[in-house]
Every structure is written in structure tokens, then in C-alpha cells.
Amino acid sequence: MKKLWKGNEAIAEAAIAGGCRYFFGYPITPQNEIPEYMSWRLAEEGGAFIQAESEVSAINMVYGAAGAGARAMTSSSSPGISLKQEGISYLAGAEVPCVIVNMMRGGPGLGGIQPAQGDYFQAVKGGGHGDYHCIVYAPGNIQEFVDVMYDAFDVADKYRNPVMLIGDGMIGQMMEAVEIPEYKDLNKLPPKPWASQGHNGGVQRLINSIKIDPNDLEDHNHRLFKKYAEIEANEVKYEEYLTEDAEIVFVAYGSVARICKAAINELREEGIKVGMLRPITIYPFPKKPLAALAEKANVKKFLTVELSMGQMVEDVRLSVNGKKPVDFYGRCGGVVMMPADLVKYVKEGK
């Protein structure tokens, strides 16, 4: 049954439905409802919640719990995610599966607390030190957030890789009617023979990211990138909206894509042929569908819309590869564009 849920709380419940039993976090606006909810809800489920002394500690608790075989997660917002980056690099290096939620706010620095998308580069290009990728989802509404979160631990476990979900204050704070899927049976999850959980009869299992021999470390990097190639082949998710005959193709993710959709609906009513490609995974990025659209005769240009000074637009340009012009419209600092702003921009640009 559909119920009215606040975004952050729905995400927390979906994580539990997906098998999460351990949460480690630190307060920061606008994601506080996630740790608040987890603090009492995980106790009911026989898991554990720790309000860590810092973001740094929280992500390392995830390293411990997930390395010990549990489904564990943390959530934060932009400045807190910056603090977690070292730990995320360790998680990627040691191949510890876990889930990290970033409800983005405006930056740089302490910035503000209103919705923004300035952490795109940080999320998809690495963020911490070294060569690695998280699998990054950017769902567009609360139901999609719930559905992605529900399966996020499965994806993380499948590739032994951190999965990140990014949203913003808008998704976190708003309420929509949402259905939480059926709770996964923890006893039916695949075993984790690699996990460091004690009682292994003198055969050591090690959670580790140090490879002091350069050749070993190079081999390790190659192995990781083989895995990323597999992820790029299997896990790309996106939605196309009215692109069949579109002359202008919007590219936007998360809550911004909803604002674009409203603008597209208005423009279509006036007979202007616009559509949208909405990445649901931003790593792996939907390069191929964008390249295919760039080949189509009806597509005259792309318009990337972001709550940033222009970050994803670089990946759009790489995918379109000069075949068609790629325009950019952005607001930042926590200012959110209205559908009317985009309608006006498109009409004046024509």
C-alpha cells in the first residue's frame, strides 16, 4: 500500500527493507531524518546505530561493519561527504560493499543548506585519493530513491564495491506517496566468505587496502578497472522522455530532472519539440544512449541543466563528442530554477 513518506525516512526504511542493519552517521542538514529514523528503527530490527564522533569515524565504522560481513551504510550531506572521502577510497580499495547517501547542499566550504548538485565531480570522478569508482545513483523522486536503495546492497555485494546514492535537500525533505517493497530475508542473502568475522579455524581473512609492492598494486588497480568495465557494461540506468522527435534534448538528473520535465510538458503544449535523457546512474554514465541521440537527425542540440556551475555537462560533452552543440543552464548556491525559467530560456534561445 502506498503511504505518505518523507524522503529521508522512506530512504531509511527502504534500506532496512533491503537488508541494512547497521548505520553510522553524524548530524548534518538536510539529511538528519535518516540517522534519526535509523536510531530507533534499527534497534527494533536487532541491528545497531552509532552516532559517531565525526563523519570520518562514521565511514570507518561502515568499513568495520561491512568488512565484517554486515549490510552497513552511512548518510551525510556535502561537507560531511568530503570528510568521508578518505574512508570511501579505503572501502573501494579493500573492496568492501556498502551504501553511502549524500543529500547534497550548496558549497563550496560550509556553503548553505538548500538543494544543490555541486558534488557531481566528487561522486563520479573518485572523490578520494587514487584510481577508483563508486557506483553512483541519482534517483529522481522518492519512490525511485526507495527502489534504488532497496537493491543498492545487492549491487554493492555483487561487485564488492561502495554504492553511493545522491539526492538533495528537496528529495530528502519532501513527502510523496511511496510503497516500500517487501522486506528481504537476510538468511537468503549470498554468503560473504571473504568477510573478516572471526571463527575461521586459523585461516585468515583480511580486509585491507595496502599493497606495498608497486607491481601488486598495479595488478590490483587493473583488476578493479576490469570490474568497473563490467559495471559500465551492466549497470547503466537512464530514462528517455519524449526524445523520439525531440529537437532539443534536456539532460538532467535527480530533482532537477523533474523541473525539466515540467518545463518540457509546458513547451510541448506550445508545440516546441523538446525531450529529455535522465541519467539514473551517473557512474556508470549513460554514454551510449547519449551518443546515439547525438547521431539522430531530429536532435539539434542538448541542454544540460544542473544545480551547479556545470559539472555533468562535461560528461555530456564527452558522450556527444562534438556531434551536436551542448548548452548549459545552471543555478547554484541553493537557488532552484523554476520550470518557467527553463521555458523562457528555451524560447529565447530558439
Partner: protein, 178 residues
């Protein structure tokens, strides 16, 4: 239907929005409830954007609301110009002293606090919910009552007085619209 409700924190602005959303899902509408958050709430324009629609709700942000409910002066000043021509502005005239200058919208200035005083001091927002139903047309009294029952599940004592407030609001608005 797109509604912006705005006022001081403590005037029940966010919860009025929730009542609308709860009533709307009773009738299988899609609904979104998007609050302002952070320091803005302390500046006197705590507000919430509520949408309900049979179609998918694209943007949860509202550039031009069908209805503005202004519970104080800063809220009226901030949102008056954004209301869709032909739309509605409802003010709490016990608090709002600024005049509404728009001529292309329907304006109701309602002494909500006085009305609530008679039935249930804390029921001003439910009276407002009642007043919205004749304007919404598509949401039934029964759905709103179910929403009240749902929200106050843990406090059964307050359900009846709130239903009274709802009925008062509906009757008051029907009278105004005559």
C-alpha cells in the same frame, strides 16, 4: 492543484499541507509536499508547496500556485505576485494587515483565529483545510475526515473537535462563495 501555504512557524502551516496530501491520497491522487527548511522558517515565511494531481507530478516546486494561503504579512508580500491569474488568495485576517492588491484573483480574508477560538483553539489549520475543500471540489469531506483520523490516530480525543473545525471551515467557505 497547486497550493502554497505560508506563515510563522507554529501556525500549523506544514501540517495543513500534510492534511491536504493525506486527503488527496485517500482518493488516489499523486501528491507532493515540499517544505521550506532551514533558517527561512525562522524568518516568518515557513512555507510548504503542496500539489495533487491524477497525472504524474513532475516538478514539486511551484512557480505559480492555484491557491495561496497567507497566514502572515511576510508570506503575502512574498507570494502574492506569484499566484496564477484566476487563482485564489486566502489570508488569515486576524494576523495579516497588508491589503491584497491583486485584482485578477479571488480573495478571501478570513478571521481564522476567531473562528478557531469558538471550537478548538489549535484547530485553525483544520478550519483552513475545510475552507479549501469547496475550492478544490475534487476532494471529499470524507477523505479529509479520514486524513484527520489517520494523523491523530494516537490522540483519539482530538479527532472529534477537529472534524468540527473541518465542517465549520466547509460551511464558512460555502457561505462566502454564494
Amino acid at each position: 492543484m497547486k497550493v502554497i501555504i505560508s506563515g510563522f512557524g507554529g501556525q500549523g502551516v506544514l501540517s495543513l499541507g500534510k492534511f491536504i496530501s493525506y486527503s488527496a491520497i485517500e482518493q488516489d491522487f499523486n501528491t507532493s509536499w515540499l517544505p521550506s527548511y532551514g533558517p527561512e522558517m525562522r524568518g516568518g515565511t515557513s512555507n510548504v508547496s503542496v500539489i495533487f494531481d491524477k497525472n504524474e507530478i513532475a516538478a514539486p516546486v511551484i512557480d505559480h500556485p492555484d491557491i495561496l494561503i497567507a497566514m502572515n504579512d511576510p508570506s503575502l508580500a512574498k507570494f502574492e505576485d506569484t499566484v496564477k491569474p484566476g487563482g485564489y488568495i486566502i489570508t488569515n485576517s486576524n494576523i495579516v494587515k497588508l491589503p491584497v492588491t491583486r485584482k485578477d484573483v479571488t480573495v478571501y480574508e478570513v478571521p481564522v483565529d476567531d473562528l478557531a477560538e469558538k471550537i478548538n483553539k489549535r484547530g485553525g489549520n483544520i478550519i483552513m483545510l475545510g475552507m479549501l475543500l469547496p475550492i478544490f471540489k475534487e476532494i471529499s469531506e470524507e477523505s479529509a475526515i479520514n486524513a484527520i483520523k489517520h494523523v491523530f490516530e494516537a490522540k483519539p480525543k482530538v479527532i472529534e473537535p477537529n472534524i468540527q473545525c473541518l465542517k465549520e471551515g466547509i460551511a464558512y467557505m460555502q457561505n462566502l462563495m454564494k
